[in-house]
């Protein structure tokens, strides 16, 4: 994927502009997602012209698995319902729990996996494909994918040149959410650079509230922290090399990134609960404690992808007034834009599974969830009108325009043993780093050892 995803200057500018735009807009996006307004504004799917032809599949039953629960599950089920309506197939949604690989693995051992899985990490896609567990997209699905997605997304869903996956849902992973009351009381503004962030954090801490809430109990929040810092500081080329383990984790660029990160993690008065407390805080709690008690909350800001909106909704804080968001500050030249996404793959060879993937690759499917909020699509043929307001329309357009200028979450692309499993690999090593931020060299060696084992090189 190196060649196609190298950042050109144009892309970089677009990225930087987008970062600010996206962050500002997302606060609104998220704000609207809890309300019913979005639904009313969205055109009913019935009135929309079908852009994709699907076969009749009366009487066929398929299972789809994803990690989604709660609102996400509800919205995705609506997408599946539309598919059922058009094809006559019965679709059952199966939440996999967080440990999707174990779940799918056990079902494959028994020879009856779900027909379609929405894998949360492309690294898992590659591993499953390597084991022969995935069925390639058929001609219709592949055609629909090529028609609607940029080359970067197609490549991310492929293994050794064979297309397997459709990136149905995309997340912005370069956002910092903050408690407006505390920022206001301490008199700090949204920082745009790492230095400004550290300075703001210091002022907030001096004011008397721990500045940053870190959900260190979940390793992925820490890999996201690192990736944002690294992408911004070392640049996209290095980022791609480290992603594929072409450069080692002992590389000086990693040293720099960890040192920069250590300037925040190394000062326990800046972290909610200190380093130990941060390691004990799971992601939802990290978001919750930043907003749960208004100005008496336990932290002033929290790094979190756009999905944090759900956790904030769980508190009394209102997104847009009590909780706002700014783009991850620039550590080097440009602010980073790291994305994640869920990729749909077929685990069984049947017409219904392929038809569903075809549908998920079409603008018709994306439109349904887009209208309900909490969703971004990289589908370039999705009419921006599908999003319920202008801000979201602009993010979507920019996402498609910047196309290959984004970088995909690094740990998600690594083999799961390194980048995607609780308690091991990068997740564990960065937790050790959070425990002891002074030991940059030691952590790098452990990261390199684990990476070498997982990448088998």
């Amino acid at each position: 994927m190196g060649a196609t995803r190298r950042g050109t200057p144009r892309n970089r500018a677009a990225r930087s502009a987008l970062a600010h735009l996206a962050a500002g807009a997302l606060a609104l996006t998220a704000a609207a997602c809890g309300s019913d307004d979005a639904k009313k504004e969205a055109p009913s799917p019935d009135l929309i012209r079908h852009t994709v032809r699907l076969p009749r599949l009366n009487g066929q039953k398929i299972k789809v698995t994803a990690v989604w629960t709660g609102t996400e599950q509800k919205n995705f089920t609506e997408v599946l319902d539309e598919f059922s309506k058009r094809t006559g197939a019965e679709v059952a949604f199966v939440p996999s729990g967080d440990d999707m690989s174990s779940f799918v693995g056990s079902k494959i051992t028994g020879g009856d996996p779900p027909d379609v899985a929405m894998l949360p990490q492309p690294g898992v896609l590659r591993e499953f494909a390597g084991k022969g567990w995935l069925k390639p997209l058929n001609a219709e699905a592949a055609a629909e994918l090529r028609k609607n997605f940029g080359k970067g997304w197609q490549d991310l869903g492929s293994h050794k040149g064979t297309p397997y996956g459709v990136y149905f849902k995309v997340t912005n992973k370069s956002l910092v959410w903050y408690n407006t009351k505390i920022f206001d009381a301490a008199g700090v503004k949204e920082p745009r650079t790492w230095a400004e962030l550290l300075n703001a954090a210091q002022v907030v801490a001096d004011y008397g509230v721990p500045a940053v809430s870190v959900g260190g109990a979940d390793g992925w929040t820490l890999t996201d922290w690192f990736e944002n810092v690294y992408l911004s500081q070392a640049g996209p080329e290095k980022y791609d090399q480290l992603t594929t383990h072409k450069i080692k984790w002992t590389d000086p660029s990693v040293t720099d990134a960890l040192t920069a990160l250590g300037r925040l993690f190394g000062r326990k008065e800046l972290l909610a609960g200190g380093n130990k407390g941060a390691l004990q805080t799971a992601f939802p709690a990290a978001v919750g404690q930043t907003f749960a008690k208004g100005e008496d909350s336990k932290a002033a800001m929290v790094y979190a992808p756009d999905i944090a909106a759900a956790a904030i909704d769980g508190t009394n804080a209102r997104i847009g007034t009590d909780a706002k968001v700014f783009p991850f500050p620039a550590v080097g030249g440009e602010p980073p834009v790291v994305t994640g996404g869920d990729v749909g793959v077929a685990l069984k060879d049947n017409a219904a599974a392929q038809a569903l993937l075809t549908f998920l690759a079409s603008p018709d499917a994306a439109r349904i969830w887009a209208a309900r909020g909490g969703f971004l699509s990289a589908n370039k043929n999705l009419d921006a009108a599908a999003y319920p307001d202008d801000t979201r329309r602009r993010i979507a357009k920019a996402l498609v325009a910047a196309g290959d200028g984004f970088r995909f979450d690094m740990s998600d692309q690594a083999p799961a043993a390194f980048g995607g499993k609780p308690g091991q690999g990068e997740w564990k090593d960065l937790q050790d780093f959070l425990r002891n931020p002074g030991d940059v060299a030691g952590i790098q060696q452990r990261l390199e050892a684990d990476a070498a084992k997982a990448f088998k090189n």
Partner: protein
């Protein structure tokens, strides 16, 4: 041998053709053979092959079981479980059984303690996730723990407050702060602090700059923070808040020569004796609010989950032991009491020896149960301490399925689990035979 053989000599009443006996046994033996016995053979066989199942690797998988760091943690934890959990549950069960024996509402108590046995490990796991929640405002374990802790520690006026790194005060190892330069009478000492929680600074008056007083040592302790980080560090800027009630001490050669408490405007006055000493702000001013124990942190996670397990299973031990107790001849106990033995002696010298066989059964049952522990660990341990809480059954699940799957390794762990319960099988069969002999 003899139990069963005594029964064997008891002629079957029904003189049957072997075919009829086979018909009665067939469903059971078929199910057991296919789903219990065959898997054992399969696992033993599979454990000698690699991840793909094609390459014979001999004992390599077993070697990995004992060399892989994660699996070794699992082994070590299983040992901890087996040593601690059954013994503790049995001991508690014994105590409860004996105590409830002569209390009229003992049955109600037994019901309460026994009840958790009826619920799933999953539900118990969710229950204890709530109990062990770190935040003392939400988790009951820490709420109690912090409550107890705070009863014995006076609350600090300004928890977490500290000077700026370059603020002229150095941190002592015990959490106190001492000025780097000596106090001088007539030359006021500014003592700037930051990071006072807003809640604590709210009611404070504006700070007064320290006034010089001849022959006395004076100074001001205040919150050196202006909104937005403005103002001059180390100077009392307008609007900066006084910190009242802070204890200050003048220390010379490690001895406290004078002490004072700041007033409402943050100022303090020390006698001339303080001249030349250093100013110390004792740690008691700043002690952070105690956050409680990290129940699910790397060090405590296994003991915490064992706690949840004991909550579930102490009732089992209690009920079995209580039943055993009911079978203890009253006369023996009474005789001992009449002979003047006190309750402890009766318990120690009569009850416990009489109960020994029951205690044995309880411990053995719990040991087997504990070796297979899975759900409770899987649900309670948070991701960050899952490796520290790892146990064999969990490792087996993760090695058998999941991405870095190696079913050869998974099978080797399965065989290891089986080998660990084997001695118990032997003890069990012996026990059954012995019981039959009586």
């Amino acid at each position: 041998m003899s139990t069963v053989s005594t029964r064997a000599t008891r002629k079957g009443v029904v003189r049957t053709r072997p075919l009829v006996a086979a018909a009665f046994l067939l469903p059971a033996l078929a199910l057991l053979g296919a789903l219990v016995v065959y898997p054992i053979g399969y696992s033993v066989h599979r454990s000698f092959f690699d991840a793909s199942g094609n390459g014979f690797v001999g004992f390599d998988n077993y070697h990995e079981v004992f060399s892989d760091e994660r699996i070794r943690t699992a082994l070590k934890n299983n040992v901890v479980w087996v040593v601690v959990a059954p013994g503790l549950a049995t001991a508690l069960g014994l105590v409860f059984a004996v105590l409830t024996e002569r209390v009229r509402w003992g049955t109600a108590f037994k019901l309460v303690v026994f009840m958790p046995m009826a619920i799933s490990m999953l539900a118990a796991g969710i229950i204890f996730r709530l109990v062990y929640e770190q935040d003392p405002d939400r988790g009951v374990a820490n709420a109690v723990w912090v409550g107890v802790h705070d009863t014995f520690a006076a609350s600090a006026p300004y928890p977490g407050a500290h000077p700026r790194p370059d603020g002229g005060l150095a941190a002592d190892p015990d959490g106190a702060f001492t000025t780097t330069s000596a106090l001088r009478a007539g030359s006021p000492a500014p003592v700037p602090l930051v990071a006072v929680k807003p809640r604590y600074a709210k009611g404070e008056r504006d700070a007064q700059p320290p006034r010089a007083e001849p022959g006395k040592v004076t100074g001001t302790v205040w919150l050196d923070f202006t909104r937005g980080g403005g103002g001059t560090p180390g100077r009392v800027d307008p609007g900066e808040k006084a910190l009242s009630g802070v204890k200050v001490e003048a220390v010379r050669d490690g001895r406290t020569v004078a002490s004072a408490t700041t007033g409402a405007d943050g100022t303090f006055t020390l006698p001339a004796a303080a001249d030349g000493a250093r100013l110390r702000l004792p740690a008691a001013n700043f002690a952070e609010r105690y956050r409680g124990a990290e129940w699910l942190g790397p060090t405590l996670v296994t003991p915490s989950i064992i706690g949840a397990y004991i909550w579930m299973w102490a009732g089992f031990a209690m009920v079995l032991i209580a039943a055993g107790l009911a079978g203890v001849p009253r006369e023996l106990l009474e005789a001992a009491r009449v002979d003047g033995a006190n309750e402890w002696q009766v318990f120690r010298r009569v009850t416990v020896p009489l109960l020994a066989p029951v205690l044995g059964v309880v411990v053995i049952t719990l040991v087997i149960n504990v070796l297979k522990i899975f759900d409770l660990v899987y649900i309670i341990a948070p991701g960050s301490s899952l490796p520290d809480a790892n146990v064999l059954a969990l490792q087996l699940y993760q090695s058998s399925f999941g991405t870095a799957v190696n079913q050869g390794l998974g099978s080797a762990i399965a065989v290891l689990l089986l080998v660990l319960v084997l001695p118990v099988v032997i003890v069990n069969i012996r026990r059954i035979r012995k019981e039959g002999r009586r």
